[in-house]
Symmetry: C2
Subunit: 335 residues, 2 copies
């Protein structure tokens, strides 16, 4: 049972960023606890997921989802605990996956909530067996359609999405090459995640290293970064390559949109490039989450987390994520 | 029967262009007539087709087909007349579609030749019922997959490919908007070809005109041009739009590759972009050519030709094609 006198803590959008996001673009505000109606539950946030897509929500431009309005709570996926329930199927103490956003308490209709399965740390359902994992699965298999023996390249390879993409592609029998920033991330990608190679795009000569790492060219690119990274992967593409366009994090903070120079490769190599948003088809999530959670439980799908402590540190952690300072899935431990 | 003392006339590649193609990149040479072996025919070129893809063949960079080597005859589709035959199914006077290239005489294996059907001017099989028409058909239907009521945009709309794309899309029940260079071409596209609108990209304010002409956004883009044209069409795309990437003529003569700025739209609108080359699947050509020829014969598929007279004028006509100086299908009348 929640304390009716307790206050909620929220992170709201204070101003729309120009170029790089700053901490001053957010505000930390106290508000009353939300009251729940019949069929609803009151939730306390345990973990907040920080993801690159949130950057797009801070802009006013047309995007695939509505912008966050100034003064509104920032959106985000959460693992939350039920602290009060007016829904017959939930009771206090139940753990659920929700979209509570950047706040300590929230309310939700019980019919929309997914119960956190037992047996795994709940944060797994914000990472390898959550939205990032489903993103990896659908982009790789539905768009990339990798065949055994083909070469798959993944940018942001140590991240929440990229790490799952590469491990699934290895399981499929592909040669898998990651692109990541820094020697520590690259070592993790190869030694722990089992990729065949990882190219550190912060090193001079990385383009040559990418070439050496893809001796048979590139058949599938799972693109999280864009910009110069995508341009150089395009130079390595084979005829009939597929590009799953998942993110363009290189350009999210550029004042000018980040362009693509090597458009010609798309034509010459008859490439199929498909932008996608994992939330477009929610019907397959339960099945895919079961597949992914099974692999995590079996130890065949590895993951890593960076956890910021306290909601008030969410803005700084988010800025770090956009700069690639996190290592693996970026979470905020709220409660 | 050919005159055994006659000489062949050929246009060969003399130098690889830097930026714009110049007439001096070609050489006009006389060579002996080719001798034919059993199963072969000797062909006299009636019409040579000039097409933008030939620009790519002049470069040494990796492309979807082998480069033309220096000193070799330029490649190209032709309508040719059999003047000597050692193939049982062909006799002198037969008309065939061939790939004889930029020359007066050539030889070919008879098994590879398509006979020109009777009843239509033979040049039709280099235009609306030839390679450009098949390009339009496969790009529009296989990749664009337009649905009745959707909006289709076609660049280079008065050209050999674009003109067929738009007429097929109208037949399908789409709103069709062309992009072309100059008021004369735009008037033709609307008044003769029956497009709903045509935007003259050489006019100031054309971007605003494109916006006005696509009040419901763009669902299918058949892209022949690239560069600034593609960037501005991308601004009008709806969610789940499709782009058939057929050509990038805007960049074919640029010293630097022409970039794409609005990559973000590909992601945000979950666009499927597919580069394609019509010669990748030859199996469906006969069926599609029959469909297109039937429409030309019925008068429902209109076309226009620009014909240069004499093989020696092919280089100048080709340069004009790259600059958009032609109007409709560019041909060279050789014999």
């Amino acid at each position: 049972m929640s304390d009716p006198g307790a206050a909620n803590l929220q992170v709201t959008l204070k101003s729309r960023p120009q170029g790089w996001v700053r901490e001053s673009d957010f505000a930390l505000v106290e508000t009353p606890l939300p009251a729940i109606a019949g069929g609803e539950v009151l939730l306390r946030t345990l973990y907040l997921s920080l993801d690159p897509y949130m950057r797009g929500r801070m802009d006013e431009v047309k995007s695939y989802a509505a912008s966050v309005n100034l003064g509104e709570v920032m959106v985000g996926g959460t693992v939350s605990e039920v602290v009060d329930s007016r829904h017959p199927q939930f009771k206090s103490g139940d753990l659920v996956v929700s979209a509570a956003g950047w706040q300590r308490y929230s309310k939700a209709g019980g019919d929309k909530l997914m119960r956190v399965p037992a047996g795994l740390p709940p944060s797994v359902f914000l990472g390898p067996a959550g939205m990032p994992g489903v993103t990896a699965w659908t982009g790789l298999f539905d768009i990339g359609q990798p065949q055994p023996g083909e070469t798959v390249v993944v940018s942001a390879a140590s991240g929440a999405v990229g790490s799952v993409v590469g491990q699934l592609a290895k399981e499929k029998g592909c040669r898998v090459v990651g692109i990541a920033g820094g020697p520590e991330k690259c070592a993790y990608v190869v030694d722990t995640l089992g990729f065949d190679a990882c190219v550190d795009y912060k090193r001079d000569g990385w383009v040559q290293e990418l070439k050496s790492a893809t001796p048979d060219g590139v058949d599938v690119d799972f693109e999280n970064v864009g910009g110069e990274v995508l341009d150089n992967v395009l130079k390595r593409t084979n005829a009939h390559a597929r590009i799953a366009l998942c993110g363009l994090i290189a350009g999210y903070n550029a004042a000018e949109p980040m362009g693509l120079h090597n458009v010609r490769a798309l034509l010459v190599n008859r490439i199929r490039l498909q932008g996608f948003i994992v939330s477009d088809d929610l019907s397959r999530w339960p099945e895919i989450i079961r597949e992914l959670a099974g692999r995590v439980a079996a130890g065949s799908l590895k993951y890593r987390e960076t956890v910021a402590i306290g909601l008030e540190n969410a803005p700084r952690a988010f800025i770090g994520l956009l700069k690639g300072e996190n290592f693996g899935k970026q979470l905020v431990k709220v409660a």
